[in-house]
Symmetry: C2
Subunit: 211 residues, 2 copies
Amino acid sequence: MSEAAADLLGALAYASLTAFGRTAADAERAPSLAARATLSRLAVAGYRIHEALVAELVRRGVEPELAMAPFVPPIDAFHARTRSGDWFEGLLGSYVLAGLAEDFAEHAAAIVDEPLTDVLRDLGATVAAQHGRQFVEDAIREVLAADPAVAGRLALWSRRLLGEALSQAQRVAADRIELTRLLGGGLAEFGGLLVQVADRHAERMRALGLG
Amino acid sequence: MSEAAADLLGALAYASLTAFGRTAADAERAPSLAARATLSRLAVAGYRIHEALVAELVRRGVEPELAMAPFVPPIDAFHARTRSGDWFEGLLGSYVLAGLAEDFAEHAAAIVDEPLTDVLRDLGATVAAQHGRQFVEDAIREVLAADPAVAGRLALWSRRLLGEALSQAQRVAADRIELTRLLGGGLAEFGGLLVQVADRHAERMRALGLG
């Protein structure tokens, strides 16, 4: 497996492990036992994705820890800069990040070579199936109906999540030329991929009333 | 299903949901990616147990949230009084709690009536299979070999975990007479069950060098 392919799987494997920890921590703030159990289930789904990507790396003879290591600083920096301040920020955060992961995986699948395409398609489909979209959308719409003033704060929050995610992704792309090449060419083409992901994010936020 | 049986499953369901959150938080302090992934896997095992117990309650026509609710205060109090201070306390904590859960389930299975017996036996077996005993034992022995002075602090920590767990269990037993009856009779018999669990805990700690 090429170093760039190992990079891609390693980055996604570490991102999903940290999504697990982040979502599990957000679950602790749930306003009800049912909500806590649901967010815990979403966290577990993140761990399962991590596990599948690690298995994929191992199958290709790559040491998972080595593949993940380069992405620890940017992904940790992302989380450190976007700590959720309350239950709704946590909930929206899990929704935003799952959406970005799904769209990134789908767009990247169309660019990379086989057999990575299948791995990315599976990942996108798993995120889409597991990410508890309905639960989060219902909860966010409920809070907006009860307190419309929250919309402004949550809209800002979603833009901050997107902004930090894009800026860390660009940092990685600038550092890992081969990975960037795998994802379409140079920094300009990678930027095009990010624009597509950002557009889909904006559509989802508008649909939620956070446009 | 009797109220006492719903109590027992509800208490275990909430305990395993909180074990998930606690272990996921402890995983964030792991000294390596491999250790973090392993502790995350143990957290996921806790969530799976929660999910199985919730399914069991639903199958018996009991609303899981109602069954869990009475046990939120004592279990939350347990966690609040035993926050782990570092990675090794977290690691030993997950080991101690899994051991208590396993032994409690096994001893209780011998006391309660069918079909609860099977549920408890399954739970004990699942905890035993998943709790990553070897991983934790190796890590603890390694830190003790490197720094024998840590043994005293970890031994105290394990006794504190046990003490708080027993005191919350006794508080629950005093409040829930029917549950206590299900588990052997009166408070004295329930005390006998706790002594057995405490003895097994002490044996495990001695074997680890924390006696």
